[in-house]
Structure formats: C-alpha cells, structure tokens
Symmetry: C2
Subunit: 244 residues, 2 copies
C-alpha cells in the first residue's frame, strides 16, 4: 500500500530493541502517515459514491468516525484531498508504463499490457478521482499539474501506437484519435463500474482489449455479409434476448 511512504527502513520487521529516543517519534510519524492515507482513501470512496461536490468534509470525517478539524489536521484542503486521490490513481498507470518499457514484445502487446493495467486502475477505488478530477474544480496550479500528468499518459499511449504502426504490430491509424478512443473507453469504466460490479476490473480490461484488438468487422475466415439479417438465420435467439 503505502510502500514509498515509509521513510525509516520500515520495509521489513526491524527488530530494533534499542530504546532510541527517536523511536517513539518515528513511530508517530509512521502512524501519522497511515492515518493520512486512511483519510485519502476515505475521501476517494466518498467521492466515488457521491461525487466531489456532493461530498462534504464532514461526510469524510464521519466515515472515519472523527470530526472535520481532524481531517484538516492531515490535509490542508478539500482540493488537496482530491488531488491526492488523483495522484494515487494515476501512479498506478505510470507504473504500468514503467513495467512495460523494457519488455521485448511488439508494441501492440506492450500497449495491451498498459491498457489492462489502465482498466484495472480505473476500476479501482481511486479510479473515479483519477478520471473525474476536473481542472475546473481545482486551483490553476493543481489544474496544471493534473493536466500534465494526464497528458503524459496520453502521449505514452500515442507513442506506443506509433511504435506499433512502425513495427507493424498495429494497423496504420491516427495515433491521436486512436489514443483518445482507447483511453476514453477505459476511463468511462469509472462511470458504470460503481453500479455494475459483475466483473472484476481485470476481466473488464481484458474484454476491452479484445474489442480494441479485433475490431467489429469480422476477420478473414468469417462468413461474408448477407444483405441483411435476410435468411434471419437464428434470429430467434436475438428476439428472445431483446425481449428480455
């Protein structure tokens, strides 16, 4: 979870039986970090449920069974809370790019790997915040920051697409529009996943990647198009399904 947060050599089970005068304060620091993280998580969950503007800091505090000033003890403003949630979400995606960078595979496969991570991140608890953090809700400074991060990801996708076209693993296409289409489809998960959790994030990502890869038009080998559902082959099934 808060891996990069622990500043002491926290990673392992430090035995440290020594009664260092700093131990207590370090302990407190760690505890504080944990609490801060809890505040951000709680905020993410509430934003996710009710949206940024419909969530008051009192709500978040109540969810943690503390009061508003306590929340302010860990963050400086509501805006910062949103920003932190955003960063937490976006960091997962940046990690995906890093993971993939040194892979020895055609660009399309690397892109797919990124998209799978991307989809899972959007379906995660920070997904909503990442996707929906609106520049309009934030100060100019933070807005710029968020835009930069979003742009970085966008350009990362575009680059993979360009490389794929280059190495022949991706159908020639407009990288910008294609990147928008892919990212948009994935981003949108955040809108409906809350209500419909019948699949895991990974499953959704997988299904989306399959759609992106293959496209709608049947691949070679499929039956040629009849004029219209003319012979109405097994339209039965459809009719039933539609009636549902």
């Amino acid at each position: 979870m808060n891996s990069r947060r622990a500043s002491p050599p926290a990673a392992g089970k430090q035995p440290v039986p020594v009664a260092s005068p700093w131990r207590a304060s370090r302990e407190r620091l760690r505890e504080r970090a944990v609490k801060r993280e809890a505040v951000i998580r709680a905020a993410a969950r509430e934003f996710n449920r009710k949206g940024y503007h419909n969530t008051s800091l009192d709500d978040i505090a109540a969810r943690l069974e503390v009061t508003k000033p306590t929340v302010y003890y860990y963050v400086t403003s509501k805006e910062q809370l949103l920003f932190q949630c955003f960063v937490a979400g976006v960091e997962q995606i940046r990690a995906a790019f890093r993971d993939v960078r040194h892979l020895e595979a055609p660009a399309r496969e690397r892109l797919n790997a990124v998209l799978r991570h991307y989809g899972q991140a959007v379906a995660s608890e920070f997904g909503w915040c990442m996707v929906r953090a609106e520049d309009q809700d934030l100060s100019p400074a933070m807005s710029r920051h968020i835009k930069a991060l979003k742009s970085e990801i966008d350009h990362g996708i575009r680059r993979l697409i360009r490389e794929g076209v280059q190495d022949g693993s991706i159908q020639p296409c407009d990288p910008k529009m294609t990147a928008f289409a892919l990212a948009g489809a994935l981003n949108w998960i955040a809108h409906w996943y809350r209500e419909d959790q019948s699949l895991t994030g990974a499953q959704i990502a997988e299904a989306f990647v399959a759609v992106f890869e293959g496209g709608l038009r049947p691949r070679a080998g499929a039956a040629p198009l009849p004029a219209r559902r003319g012979p109405r082959r097994r339209a039965r099934r459809v009719a039933e399904a539609v009636a549902r």
Copy 2:
C-alpha cells in the same frame, strides 16, 4: 442592448395577416418558448465550460444579460436546467436510432451510423450535459428518468451489436462489454473536445468508427510483425517527460 427583444416577425415568416384576437398571445407563447430555449442553451454552454457545480444561476443569467429571477421565470430549478440539457442531448441520439431502424443494411453499418450521430451529439453543445449529468446531482425522480434514457441507448447499441453478430456483419463478441467500450469512447469526447476543437464532431466520430471497425491488429495483407523496434528509437522523450 437586448436585441432579442424584437421578435414579432420572428423566424418562420408566417403570413397570417388576419388580426386574430389570439395572434398576440400565441406569439407571446412562441416567444416564451424561444426564450426558454435560450436559457437552456446558455446553461448548457456554462455547464460545459465550468461544470454543473461551478456554475451558478447568476452566471447563467449574466450570460443572458438578465437576472436570476428571470431565469427562474423560465425554469423551476437548476436541477431542471441540467435535466433539460440532458434531454436535449439525448434526443439527438434517440433520433439516430429512429433514423436507422428502417435501414436495409447490415447491422454493423446501422451501428456505425448510430455511432456517428452519437459522436456528433457528444461533441455538440449539449454533449457535456448529456454525458455528465450525474444521478448524484439530481433528485431521485430525475435520476431514475435519466438512468432510464441512458439505459435505453445502451440497450439499443447492444441490440445492434447482437444483430450484427447474428447477421455476420460483426465479429462475435460480448455485446455488453462491447457496447460499454464503444459508448465510453464516444462519451469521453465530451471531456476533451472543449479544449481541443481541431476536428469537427463528425470527423472525430468518423475516426472513432474507423478504429472500432478495424481494430488495432493489422488485417490480413499487412506486413508481419518484426521482433521489436530495434534501435529503441526515441525513448529519450519519455524519460524526460516522466522526470518532469
């Protein structure tokens, strides 16, 4: 100043020289409808620019060069304003479905036609409202209403996909996930189109349809995949961007 004040021989040049006692009142009624529409349009534009919660009714009124109570003379609440914008947007898409219903073409082509309209609607001035009208921002009643309309569209797309799979014009796939992917990509246009209007809505829709149709994987006839972009072309750029 208030130019829209003079509207007697308004849009439609109706000859009607007869001095019907009802003419005037009908005229007023029409005028009222026009003004109401202007209010809704103005609201859509402001919501589009600044988001629902960051737009006050004073803003909308100011944009129309009237005052808040005047706005309330035409709508009953801010919520209703959002709802009307939503309906205006969604109606374009419903129209697309109607247009396509009696077309004698494979389902994939009918789907594409709908998606093209869809994309244009999202890029229109009501696009943002349609896409972003959140149930959390609305009363339960309106929320239900909006959900029903959204669901209608979703199921319309799913049905076209199912028909396409049936008639062989669409690659076999999961209709639900595919519909989510397509609609998501198109919906997301509303997020970035505001900032980047380098293309028209129609052009974007066209580009997206091309991506959906063909998919990323090269079609038969394309060059086979080389191992990887050998010389690690410009990985430089990324490293910089990330470091930023």
